[in-house]
Amino acid sequence: MARFDKAVGRYVYLTVEGVDYRVYFEESGSGIPLLLQHTAGVDARQWRFFLEDEEITRNFRLIAYDLPFHGKSLPPSSERWWEQEYRLTESFLKEFILGLSAALELDRPVFLGVSLGGYIATDLALTHADSFRAIIGCEVSTELHGLDNPLFHHPQISDGAKAAQMYDAMGPESPEACKRESTWLFSQAAPPVMLGDLYYVCNEHDLTETAHKIRTDRTPLYLLNGEYDFVMPPSHGKALADRIKGARFSSMAGLGHFPMIENPPLFRRHVMPILEEIRRLF
């Protein structure tokens, strides 16, 4: 008898900023819809352990998607994308996420994102909080200017070399097999994707002047940063939370920048109480 994972993948067509995209997503579970956003330079495979978690899938419908240009969501066949520098923008991300939610007919999903996903989580909390029941941002910061290193897309530097650096963004005691899987995924992004994703992160995301406007009374906001995340240390997440009335912050001991894949059992220990709280609220 064959063994199968819970997650099932399929494609949905979305129009974002006037361009058609064939978007890949995987889902598992039933109940409250929960959108899962991957980090910069990787894809939804980062969520594979989460998608198999019995306790989570019992009460939540998990949907992990690949942004266009990531994983199985190919660049749009209608565009001459190879003649343009790949750049992810905040407006694209927002329209994409809201469009995906509408296409899948999700009723105010919960949003959970890490790094790039955590940044857009907080930007969505500012402008589209009412579209979500709750928002969870991991590895967050008020802003992150200046870390879009041009060497992330350099003809002499392999994608394996970039992945080797990302190994050190994870906790030293996270399971070696998980960390290696994380770097493997990182090494598989197309060469311009990491730097292009960081365009949004390092040039557009900035809540310095606006974080205080985020309302958490109707849409709870949870922020978490890993102890070993040198990109966004816990002090950054705490500083952002301090600007937002009602935001809840916690530091994740032992974890780094890719908590959902570098150490899934430890990550779930931090996230399960939040999901349980959201389940009781809704």
Binding site: Q156, G160, A161, K162, D168, A169, Y228, P233
Partner: protein, 125 residues
């Protein structure tokens, strides 16, 4: 590196299977401000051929730690941001100088050198 058998260290690095894969085609000198001496690592054709005191000024890549930095960096489980070269540079005052493209290209190989070094410093090598 005082008190460490340099010959055994070089052999251990070259015996590391991940290092051998990551270091392919590497030719470079890497200088570290390892108190009380400066340490120069010499790589040729993807192998570490020498590790010993030397003049780091002419090294292709130079890594400089603040006082006490290397001690923390080489602990089995260092405190946050001493757990890798990049975190230490971004958050802990370590300085990188020289050929940054070369350093990035061989980051994985140099990380393995440090992993082997840790085992020697902590008495397991």
């Amino acid at each position: 590196m005082r008190g460490i058998d340099a010959v055994a260290f070089v052999a251990a690095v070259n015996a590391d299977p991940e290092f051998r894969l990551a270091a392919r085609y590497w030719n470079a000198k890497v200088g570290l401000n390892f108190p009380p001496d400066n340490l120069v690592l010499t790589f040729e054709n993807g192998a570490l051929i020498e590790a010993g005191p030397g003049d780091t000024a002419t090294a292709d890549i130079r890594l400089t730690a603040p006082e006490g930095g290397w001690l923390e960096f080489l602990k089995p489980v260092p405190r946050p941001f001493h757990h890798g070269m990049l975190p230490a540079i971004v958050r802990e005052g370590f300085a990188l100088d020289g050929d940054v493209v070369l350093w990035t290209t061989y980051y994985g190989a140099l990380s393995r050198v440090f992993a082997v070094m840790k085992t020697f410093v902590n008495g397991q090598g």
